[in-house]
């Protein structure tokens, strides 16, 4: 089980990385390699070139930009877990980071890499969509911003363009009145979620976003549930919560056998709001 042959380049600057990526054929960008590494070993990915961006100073920066935190794409999960960067999410992001895979993986895995890989069961997708975060993408033609919810198109499928690299994750600041809830079901600690839900309610700003993550499809914004909770702020869940969750799950996309698991996980995340 060894990767197919490729040539590896460590980029020295971002423009250097964008240049080599644009001119490469069958090239891939690698950061911590915690998703791509296994895929290389299993030969599920066979790039001819790898461009390593993990040490680019530009992508290791984090800064406050007005009402948002711009997190460099190559900040690791462990750095977010340990509070090495500022937190604008009332503790949600450090909490989520601490539950990603295992510490040895978190030490190398990066937030940008995880989002670029777009495994629908991975923690950052569901979380950043609940936070209504965006991505800054850089390419040869310049920069553009895209919401994470528009970026993810399907399992391992994203709207990233030819030659583009995720450079920053832009996370809106939650107000101090905000609360969040989280629930995840995995077969063992550190495994990918069978089902996970993140609820973010911010009475002062953007209302409520409850997002369900699972294996088969991109994270799903639970519209009825979000609307119901937006009206109530961080108060304990209303009695008609179950009906709202049900309404968000009644479609052919979700297998009947999984529905009760998702229902329970979303309800648990909502209950966690008040905890």
């Amino acid at each position: 089980m060894k990767p197919a042959e490729f040539s590896y380049t460590r980029a020295v600057t971002l423009s250097d990385a964008l240049g080599s990526f644009a001119s490469s054929t069958l090239g891939r960008v690698i950061a911590g390699g915690q998703s791509l590494g296994p895929m290389l070993n299993l030969r599920l990915a066979e790039p001819r070139e790898l461009i390593d961006v993990s040490r680019l100073v530009e992508l290791r920066h984090t800064r406050i930009e007005g009402d948002r935190l711009a997190i460099g794409a190559c900040v690791t999960h462990a750095e977010i877990e340990d509070g090495k960067i500022p937190d604008v999410t009332v503790g949600l992001m450090p909490f989520v980071a601490s539950g990603i895979a295992y510490r040895a993986v978190r030490n190398r895995g990066t937030i940008g890499g995880s989002i670029a890989h777009a495994d629908p069961a991975a923690d950052w997708l569901t979380t950043t969509i609940a936070l209504d975060a965006s991505l800054l993408l850089s390419g040869a033609a310049g920069q553009r911003e895209v919401r994470v919810s528009d970026f993810v198109r399907g399992a391992l499928d994203t709207a990233i363009g030819e030659g583009e690299i995720i450079t920053y994750v832009l996370v809106p600041r939650l107000s101090s009145a905000a609360c969040w809830g989280h629930a995840k079901y995995a077969k063992k600690p550190g495994d990918f979620a069978q089902s996970m839900a993140v609820a973010v309610v911010d009475p002062e700003r953007r209302g409520a976003r409850i997002v369900l993550g699972q294996r088969a499809e991109p994270p799903r914004l639970m519209c009825n549930t979000s609307e119901l909770l937006a009206a109530r702020g961080c108060a304990p869940p209303p009695p008609d919560l179950g009906a709202a969750i049900e309404a968000d799950l009644t479609d052919a996309q979700i297998e009947v056998g999984d529905r009760s698991m998702h229902r329970a996980i979303v309800a648990r995340a909502v209950q966690d709001l008040a905890a």
């Binding site: 590896y8 390593d52 510490r103 040895a104």
Partner: protein, 166 residues
């Protein structure tokens, strides 16, 4: 081929390697340090866990070229490090290994957990060990070994506080 410069267990190593060579295979086949074990080769089983710049990483999904310039410590490289000595003794006392395949990764994880987390309890140890598979022990002796070292360190820390107060 790229030439990489790495420190392994305190020794500077400079060697040309294939771009696709994993750090685990570099350590084993090029440096002949066979203590690092290769199990699943997809970052799940934890047998290949070693220290890179003092942090545990999966050497099977880290490329050797990506480790250029770093400081690597494998299971062979702890010498008489006092914490690792205590961990080894506790593993021995508790029979925390049988075949030994997972042990180098377990020792690295135990070292990290004990030095990073101040308020360790059994639940936390169990979840921290979620990334290291053992097929012999049923985990309990490993958990007990880590608990022993943690309790011992707590005692010696509080003893030195008492001594300082006196």
């Amino acid at each position: 081929m790229k030439t990489i410069n790495i420190r392994i267990n305190g020794e500077a190593v400079s060697r040309p390697v294939d771009d696709r060579l994993s750090l685990a295979d570099f350590v084993r086949d090029h440096c002949l340090l066979m203590g690092t074990h290769v199990g699943c080769e997809q970052g799940v089983c934890g047998a290949c866990t070693l220290m890179m710049d003092d942090k545990p990483v999966r050497s099977c999904i880290t490329l050797a070229v990506a480790a250029d310039g770093s400081d690597i410590r494998t299971v062979e490289g702890y010498g008489d490090d006092p914490l690792m000595r205590e961990i080894r003794r506790a593993f021995n006392r508790r029979h925390a290994l049988q075949c030994g395949f997972c042990t180098p990764g377990m020792l690295a994880t135990a070292y990290d957990v004990l030095s990073r987390i101040a308020d360790l309890d059994r639940d936390r140890i169990r979840s921290e060990l979620g990334g290291n598979f053992c097929r012999c022990t049923g985990y309990l002796p490993i958990i007990q070994a880590i608990e022993d070292v943690h309790a011992q360190r707590g005692r010696s820390a509080s003893k030195s506080v008492i001594q300082a107060a006196e």
